[in-house]
Symmetry: C2
Subunit: 190 residues, 2 copies
Amino acid sequence: MSSGTRGYHHGDLRRALLAAAVDGIGEAGPATLSLRDLARRAGVSHAAPAHHFGDKAGLLTAVAAEGFDLLAEALRAADGGLLELGVAYVGFAVEHRAHFDVMFRPDLHRPEDPDLRAARERSGAALRAGVASLPDRRPTADDPDGDALAAWSIVHGFATLWLAGVLPQEIGDDPRAAARVVIHRLFRQA
Amino acid sequence: MSSGTRGYHHGDLRRALLAAAVDGIGEAGPATLSLRDLARRAGVSHAAPAHHFGDKAGLLTAVAAEGFDLLAEALRAADGGLLELGVAYVGFAVEHRAHFDVMFRPDLHRPEDPDLRAARERSGAALRAGVASLPDRRPTADDPDGDALAAWSIVHGFATLWLAGVLPQEIGDDPRAAARVVIHRLFRQA
DNA sequence: ACCCTAACTTGCCATTGACAAGATGCCGAG
DNA sequence: CTCGGCATCTTGTCAATGGCAAGTTAGGGT
């Protein structure tokens, strides 16, 4: 079964639905996402999605898990110290807005889902690994993960504010460049 | 200011609906909020909310505007420099989670609504005022609002991550204390 | 060849958001 | 004091949605 959507069996419905969900969320946000609309886009009946994901929360849980894996990959690919790690985080949020919009909303999915937990842990590990590899890291024995938490907070906050559209226009239209300036303030003491 | 809210049959439906909405969002998030359920809680017919808010987005726009005003008030009441300003931001997010959950989600409301814009600008001004009043502010002439942006990002990110429930348990259960530690890293170079 | 189970379907129901048209009651004009 | 105006609220309705139940199909393992 290649990608042909013909026949009683779709062949790769799960993947097709996930892709359609990402498209739909990107177009109008997660709030207005409709399982029936996804089914229409995939050319299947309105109840087909339930078989693969159970319900809407199940679908969004899968989207979130996929997002955390994509994020882990983006963080691992980042090269250039903490600064570029943070830039990669912001870049991921902007380029994969649909995933990002779901990943941190426990009311939209099932935060305790095992697959989601594992994927979330993978991206958390990638973040901590990037922070730990910093050569000029400050010795703060009392709170070893404080650096990671502060870095995570500032890049997550900047990404969220950027996506929310509440930042002043003067900041420009390049999220990575803007993020670089902001992140720089976190450790300009070095 | 938006409109005289003296009531006839109910007394003050608009305010009652807003309060019910905040309760409902606090219980199950904004996604599952139902205008009909709010109407039931307020003891009015299912179509009554539409008269005051137009539609669901209108209701959430009002909630967001109320949130930005509460935030501005909380920021103005904060005393103790940038650190406590940030702590107040996080405290607001945790204590007014329902408002906070709506304020930065443009897909849930009408970001261009005049009342919302005004309220948002008031809280933005309160934030900038707090940052500007810092005695030990660094002279960074090239980007005068960079400090405010970095501070906003780190506290907003921390608050969002806290509410999303993705922070490790070791962080404890006191968001203000945890925020204080994180924010401290932003300007420990002093 | 056969079954048997996952994959997908049709059918159904309660709930919801939105709209239209009617009822209610406070207010001010005269 | 009366009466019309009008914001407030109600009833009625419709299409769309999520989720459940029961039936149908096909493809792989034995």
